[in-house]
């Protein structure tokens, strides 16, 4: 019978770097990423899984890291906003966000970028409605989304 533990040691690869840490079973993945690993690009905007500011890509799948336990990421490969650009070189999507003023305070932006990145990987040339549908899980209170749609459109082929 598998052991029941209130804490365990996990190995998680984030943006290519492997981290081995002991975590409490109750710790949410987002707290592990932000507090334990000090990767503070991913944010927390709610406590009910609605806002998407904590969105990250786990083994190729877009998830909200506030609705996943850190222990559930054991052995997984995680991508966060810090892993998007290489050597300070912005991706086309990041550049499009700036060009189209798709961010104001920038708090929702990391999660928004991860959702848009996941969309463009699966569908490099999405239609307007597909873009809206793909960003439905990310709340932005500054922009009204319109410029974000424009940016994603611009970054698509």
């Amino acid at each position: 019978m598998s052991a029941v533990e209130t804490s365990r040691t996990i190995v998680v690869t984030i943006n290519g770097t492997e981290y081995e840490r002991e975590v409490e079973a109750r710790k949410l993945l987002i707290h592990f990423i932000r507090d334990d690993l000090d990767l503070t690009g991913s944010h927390i905007g709610c406590d009910t899984g609605n806002c998407g500011a904590c969105s990250v890509i786990v083994d190729g799948t877009l998830v909200k890291s506030c609705m996943m336990l850190a222990v559930q990421a054991d052995g997984a490969s995680v991508e966060t906003v810090e892993g998007l650009s290489e050597g300070g070189e912005l991706t086309a999507l990041q550049q499009a966000f700036s060009d189209h003023h798709a961010l104001q305070c920038g708090y929702c932006t990391p999660g928004m970028l991860m959702s848009a990145t996941a969309l463009l990987r699966a569908n490099p040339s999405p239609g307007d409605d597909e873009i809206k549908k793909a960003l439905q899980g990310n709340i932005c209170r500054c922009t009204g989304y319109w410029n974000i749609f424009e940016a994603v459109k611009a970054a698509s082929r």
Binding site: E24, R26, K27, R34, D35, D38, L39, T40, G41, S42, H43, I44, G45, C46, D47, T48, N50, C51, A53, T80, V81, E82, L84, S85, G88, L90, F97, S98, D99, H101, L103, Q104, C105, G106, Y107, C108, T109, P110, L113, D128, I131, K132, K133, L135, Q136, G137, N138, I139, C140, R141, C142, T143, G144, Y145, W146, N147, I148, F149, E150, K153
Partner: protein, 823 residues
């Protein structure tokens, strides 16, 4: 994505060579798109303790006992703080109100009594976030519940429980405003339109980042450093210093990036005091993260307001002569910024219209709900919603066209600058032209055909207009209309521009931006004056009250940066430019400064460009190589300028005077389609036209218009802080408090007009808060759609599907609120 956003070319303005007026890339973006911003919850310190607040489950109750012993006994718990301790270590927060509100004893934690669900009662600090919450569950608090007051209309009834014994009743503040000659206006009227009750609901902008802080105490010098996202440190300091019995310089505020504010992050001073006291008591850094549910339960709700017994004097042709109304403002449990809302609305007393005779009786009461505080459009939005509702109800009841009624009554371009009945001076604008542009954007000419086409699909189509003013740059003298004893007036903002030793241009601001792009727009203004590139200008990110010079009203709030902030930057940069020339004149052996010009990142002799002194040389000479310079040179290349808008102290007796410097305008038009079977509806077309004078960065301006519009659409349809009879908040999270998501966004068309302000150094007007127009527009559109289907009157600012269905199935309920009598 044309169906998602369209922009019409702005009305022709002279195209200025230079940086200002161009949508240059934002300096802030590079760090933010890479997750390299520094927000308050990103700040960590060795040995910091996490604070968790134990909050009241009751709306109204006496606290009979508090026992923290079990919580403190847990390993890893650093300590606790209770209301009793706060009451002994601090004085109550300074109250802005006259009595009875003046008598409130407001402390950082509840003392003896709780007055709303979610009020902080005890603070627990522990080694981890989780542990602090675990321990908070072991704090034993005994309550003796009292009947809650949840309806402002009942707050002053006999036998109702009183929230604040010290003030003797639930009345907090009241005042009567009257201008013109009401009797004459009503005598001249053909018709009097009466509206018994209108209700502006409770909501706020719910910035995605909630409040927070990391507070360190330096015992040796008795000074606190607060890394926090408070958006108006100047205000927080004058609230906290006296309460904590310390000088303001002992409170150092530091912020870098702030995840949205919208006014909602002005009144976090109680929580900050708790963190300060704990940092001193426990001798370690204290970290506070406010969770979403905490924010909804306790932070900065927008003012809920009722309008009763409204009477409008109008001619048969729709000419508006004046109105009377009674405004009842629900302040919630405490006056944290109130009762300023009791006068702020007066900045836009007649809205956009020419009526000259106005009487408004303002009453503010306390209820067992979260305290209200500024929210985007603060207090003006409520009043402008009222004036717009009045226009549409008058048009509706007199069978007139809302477009015609507006055009007939709008203040005209040729009347600008226009003095309102209460002495405000609208600086510039052409409201009728804005309306034409907006109507053009949604193809208003073809609206009847669309209405028919929609009804063929079984849908009710309606079109509505919302016109608002975004009054910016407060004259704080208006606070004296609330309390003549207050020693506030005018306004000010500061900037410092210096040339460092290697010629780097460094700008520091007094402001605390939350996404408005101050680093970028400030650099544009500086680059134009110094004739250099914006890349050569480094604007410090965020604010540090120890390093950035700041003034009493410094901060980012109330639509003023484009006026106060940028005027300060302009002033400081012009000082620096003059000093550079003065220095060059000395270096070039007395060439008159008039013969010098700034160009290509340096200063040169206009006639002889080879005589060139790069900024780097200037910085080096003054800072490191200054031997032999003339004694009386008086050049530091470090220039501080305080911009002070031209204001007079208003006449407190007559409640007369100019209350803000600029009056940006917005006209929005919404087209909705209602499903009559369910009451569900959607916005199918939308236009927003903005006029905020000279635009330094059109893209940023448009971004503010879009964001404010989205917030308005959310507020108009789903967003509401609604309480049940026991005082439980029914929408304490984003699950039940539905903000707009991507799929909720209608197509948006934006347009703009530039009417430069004659009163500001750059011709700019403060902007960003005009989104309320969207609430008015949707309310009007819903009412229009219901025309001929029961003719219900839209009486509430929030119209979720169930309310629309109720208006359809029982229009009589709202019809009974209005009547028209022949004068």
């Amino acid at each position: 994505m044309s169906d998602m956003s369209t922009t019409v070319a702005p009305a022709p303005v002279e195209v200025k060579k230079g940086w200002a007026g161009q949508s240059v890339p934002r300096k802030e973006d590079k760090r933010l798109v890479q997750g390299e911003g520094v927000f308050v919850d990103d700040v960590k310190r060795h040995g910091m303790g996490y604070v968790f607040f134990v909050r009241s489950p009751y709306a109204h109750a006496h606290i009979t006992s508090i026992d923290v012993s079990q919580a403190e006994a847990i390993k890893g718990v650093y300590g606790t703080l209770t209301g009793e301790e706060v009451a002994s270590l601090t004085d109550p927060f300074f109250q802005l109100s006259t009595p009875p509100g003046a008598h409130l004893k407001d402390f950082a934690l509840a003392v003896g009594k709780v007055r709303y669900v979610g009020e902080a009662v005890v603070a627990v600090v522990a080694e981890t976030r989780e542990l602090a919450r675990d321990a908070s569950e072991l704090v034993e608090i005994e309550y003796e519940p009292l009947d809650p007051v949840t309806d402002a209309r009942r707050a002053q009834d006999d036998g109702v429980e009183i929230l604040h014994e010290d003030s003797g009743s639930n009345l907090m503040w009241e005042g009567v405003y009257e201008w013109g000659d009401l009797d004459a206006a009503f005598a001249e009227a053909d018709k009097i339109v009466k509206i018994d009750e209108l209700h502006f609901h409770r909501f706020n902008s719910t910035p995605l980042e909630t409040d927070g802080a990391l507070v360190e105490y330096n015992r040796g010098v008795g000074q606190w450093t607060l890394y926090t996202n408070n958006q108006f440190p100047g205000f927080a300091a004058i609230m906290m210093g006296p309460a904590m019995r310390c000088g303001l310089d002992k409170l150092r505020f530091v912020t870098q990036d702030i995840g949205g504010g919208f006014g909602n992050k002005i009144t976090s001073h109680p929580q900050l005091v708790v963190c300060c006291l704990l940092a001193r008591k426990l001798n370690r850094p204290i970290q506070w993260t406010e969770w979403r549910t905490d924010f909804h339960l306790s932070m900065s709700h927008g003012n809920e307001r009722w309008f009763h017994d409204t009477e409008v004097a109008v001619k048969s042709d729709g000419t508006l002569l004046g109105f009377r109304t009674k405004a009842l403002d629900d302040a919630g449990a405490w006056l944290r910024y109130e009762p300023l809302g009791g006068v702020i609305w007066a900045q836009v007393t007649p809205g956009m219209y020419r009526w000259r005779n106005i009487r408004l009786e303002f009453t503010q009461v306390a209820t067992n709900k979260a305290p209200v505080s500024p929210n985007r459009g603060y207090s003006r939005m409520q009043h402008l919603w009222f004036t717009e509702r009045v226009i549409d109800i008058v048009a509706h009841e007199l069978g007139l066209d809302p477009v015609e009624v507006r055009k007939r009554n709008y203040i005209r371009a040729e009347d600008m600058p226009y003095e309102t009945p209460n002495g405000c001076v609208y600086d510039s604008g052409d409201y009728a032209q804005m309306l034409d542009v907006a109507l053009g954007l949604i193809g208003h000419d073809g609206i009847e055909a669309r209405r028919a086409e929609a009804s063929a699909r079984g849908k009710l189509l309606g079109v509505g207009i919302g016109s608002t003013l975004d009054s910016g740059t407060n004259n704080f003298g208006q606070s004296r209309m609330i309390n003549p004893e207050l020693q506030f007036s005018g306004n000010n903002e500061v900037a410092t521009v210096k040339l460092d030793i290697f010629g780097e241009i460094v700008v520091t601001l007094g402001t605390t931006p939350q996404g408005q792009g101050h680093e970028t727009t400030a650099a544009q203004v500086v680059a134009d004056i110094l004739s250099c590139s914006i890349d050569d200008v480094q604007v410090r990110a965020g604010h540090d009250s120890y390093w950035n010079s700041h003034a009493g009203f410094s901060g980012t709030y109330a639509s003023q940066f484009a006026v106060t902030g940028l005027s300060a930057v302009k002033g400081a940069t012009e000082m620096l430019a003059a000093e550079i020339k003065k220095l060059a004149s000395a270096i070039f052996g007395g060439v008159p400064v008039e013969a010098l010009e700034l160009a290509d990142g340096g200063v040169r002799i206009a006639e002889n460009p080879d005589a060139f002194l790069p900024f780097m040389a200037c910085g080096a000479i003054i800072n490191a190589n200054n031997a032999g310079l003339p004694e009386d040179l008086g050049v530091t290349l470090n220039c501080r300028y305080v911009y002070r808008p031209p204001f007079q102290v208003p006449d407190v007796e007559k409640k007369f005077g100019n209350l803000t410097l600029t009056y940006a305008a917005q006209v929005h038009v919404a087209v909705v389609e209602i499903d009559p079977e369910t009451g569900a509806y959607e916005v199918v077309d939308y236009a927003a036209v903005d006029d905020c004078g000279k635009r330094i960065h059109p893209q940023i301006v448009e971004g503010q218009v879009m964001g404010a519009t989205a917030q308005a659409l959310g507020a108009a349809t789903h967003e509401q802080f609604e309480y049940d009879a026991e005082g439980n908040l029914l929408t304490p999270n984003f699950y039940d408090y539905h903000v707009p998501h991507a799929l909720d966004m209608p197509p948006l068309k934006t347009g703009s007009i530039e009417s430069p302000s004659p009163f500001t150094p750059l011709g700019t007007k403060g902007m960003g808060e005009g989104g309320g127009a969207g609430i008015h527009a949707v309310c009007a559109a819903v009412q229009d759609a219901l025309r001929g289907h029961g003719d219900a009157i839209v009486w509430d600012s929030c119209n979720p599907y169930h309310r629309v269905w109720e208006m359809l199935s029982n229009p009589g309920a709202s019809r009974s609120l209005v009547s028209v009598v022949d004068a």
